[in-house]
């Protein structure tokens, strides 16, 4: 009998071993940097438009050594921490309301949809008008950027709690409040955590946006200043740092989620 032909790496649903997966991912990064290095080496693009990876690394090392980089990361992280926490807590409260009560669904949900389609960027001048250029303005931009999306995603997470779980709570005579805290929130927790993980990525975008426009510290601020002096190496270096910070925070949350919600595993 003929043996089934081995699937090629490029056929749909073909399996890739974990080691192979890492190799392929690493190759993509290497290819990207090689291409970049090649462009620089060819002399086709002037360094002021695209500095070499080595120049950027040197630049970042200098900024790290004099403490600028860490200070910028610290002030941006602080803004994200506060802004994101405010958005998440308020969005979760609204999500629970919309997800469980038809009245609040009708009262709030269409309105959220309406605001959600307004571009966050357009609110930035308004936030400066309202709160000046203080940290409060950064919190506000992050809040506007994440709250409306989060509230709808949390609502969806809450609505997916099996109705029989809630029925169980009611037959046990639990109050609405205890059904929310003892059944609905724990049941939706893995999905809520995923929503947090996804929306934290956006929060990074909004903090940089707020800092690009009006700030005197932070990663976004440094990028604007560097652009003014044609320090392209700093601009690109900071963009790469932002990518890394996003990647790291995402991986931490992914790992923490796996630890917390282990009960869903079969072994």
């Amino acid at each position: 009998m003929a043996k089934p032909r081995k699937k090629s790496l490029f056929s749909m649903q073909a399996d890739v071993s974990p080691g192979g997966y890492i190799t392929i991912s690493a190759c993509a990064f290497i290819l990207f940097f090689a291409l970049w290095w090649g462009i620089n080496a060819s002399g086709f693009v002037r360094p002021i438009f695209l500095p070499s990876p080595a120049a950027i690394l040197t630049r970042l090392a200098t900024l790290a050594a004099d403490g600028t980089l860490l200070a910028d990361i610290a002030s941006s992280s602080y803004r994200i921490g506060v802004g994101f926490a405010l958005a998440s807590v308020s969005a979760l409260a609204v999500g629970v309301l919309i997800g469980n009560y038809r009245f609040w669904d009708a009262a709030i949900e269409p309105f959220l949809d309406f605001i959600r389609y307004m571009p966050v960027v357009a609110f930035v001048p308004l936030t400066i008008l309202w709160t000046g250029t203080s940290d409060t303005q950064k919190f506000l931009v992050i809040w506007i950027g994440t709250f409306f999306q989060q509230a709808l995603m949390f609502m969806d997470n809450i609505k997916r709690v099996p109705p029989d779980f809630i029925g169980l709570g009611r037959t046990l005579g639990l109050s609405d409040y205890r059904i929310v805290t003892k059944i609905i929130l724990p049941s939706a927790a893995p999905q809520i955590w995923d929503t947090l993980r996804v929306s934290l990525g956006w929060a990074w975008t909004w903090v940089v946006l707020a800092e690009l426009v009006a700030a005197n510290s932070g990663l976004g601020y440094r990028i604007t200043v560097a652009q003014r002096y044609f320090q392209t190496d700093t601009v690109i270096g900071y963009i790469v740092v932002l990518g890394l910070l996003g990647l790291i925070s995402d991986q931490i949350m992914k790992f923490a989620g796996k630890r917390m919600f282990r009960y869903g595993e079969k072994h």
Binding site: P162, D164, F165, G167, L168, G169, R170, T171, L172, G173, L174, R178, K182, I183, P186, S187, A189, F261, Y263, G264, E265, K266, H267
Partner: protein, 258 residues
């Protein structure tokens, strides 16, 4: 006195595009159930048997009629009526033992009392060695055994079961039926059991209510005169087969008329 008394119960749902019309799902349903009785509600899908159970549980409202447990009106859900749902309703973030304890503490038992009673209930359904497993690590049959243990733990006056074995494979199903009869014969509970499996209804019940559809009504009531304890041998009695055929015929006749 009757444990559960239902008189002229009417339930309608909104229908039509604007939801202004009403369709009657339960039309003047009356029945009474005695203390320690095991009754089944059977009928074609859509006859309203699950809706009726949900109303008895207090999870759905009704339009008109009387509904009394031990002479008191049912106004909402409460711990005097325990429910075992068809879907596995074990809370996945709690172990089997904690799931039972959850029901016990919710119904006002102390922590120490809960943990003791929970283990006793798990022993009753033969799962004490699985007490610390999470639901994801249990088979479908085990999950429903924990759900039964949980519903029995706080000693409800009525146990309401909505096709609890409907999602299980045939072998597990038979095992669960035997376990349930055993538990029932020992604890002398009052059970209302919804199923579309006639054989299951005959094996478990003292009485079987056959419901007709559109609108849902109680069509016929069968007394199951089979001896107890019921064992796997019960299935082989000629009366068993005869009664099963009778009930099935009654449901079929109903389906043909539609």
């Amino acid at each position: 006195m009757d444990k559960l008394l239902i008189r002229d119960l009417i339930k309608t749902f909104p229908a039509g595009r604007a939801g202004r019309e009403r369709v009657t799902v339960l039309d003047k349903v009356s029945l009474s159930i005695r203390q320690n009785e095991f009754v089944s509600l059977v009928g074609a899908s859509g006859c309203g048997k699950s809706t009726l159970l949900s109303i008895i549980a207090g999870l759905q409202s009704f339009d008109d009629g009387d509904l009394k447990v031990d002479g008191g009106d049912i106004t909402g859900p409460g711990p005097d009526r325990g429910v075992v749902f068809q879907s596995y309703t074990l809370l996945p973030w709690l172990t089997a033992r904690r799931n039972v304890e959850f029901a016990l503490t919710a119904t006002g038992h102390s922590a120490a009392e809960s943990s003791e009673l929970a283990m006793a209930q798990l022993r009753l359904v033969g799962l004490e060695q699985f007490a610390d497993r999470y639901p994801a690590q249990l088979s479908g049959g085990m999950k429903q055994r924990v759900a039964i243990a949980r519903a029995l733990s706080y000693k409800p006056k009525l146990l309401l079961m909505d096709e609890p074995f409907g999602a299980l494979d045939a072998l597990t199903r038979v095992q669960m039926q035997e376990l349930l009869t055993e538990v029932w014969e020992r604890e002398r509970l009052t059970v209302i059991f919804v199923t579309h499996d006639v054989e299951e209804a005959v094996f478990l019940s003292d009485r079987i209510f056959v419901m007709s559809s559109n609108p849902g009504r109680i069509k016929t009531v069968y007394d199951v005169a089979l001896p107890r304890p019921r064992t796997p041998e019960t299935h082989r009695l000629p009366e068993f087969a005869a009664l099963q055929a009778d009930v099935l015929r009654s449901i079929r006749a109903e389906m043909r008329d539609r």
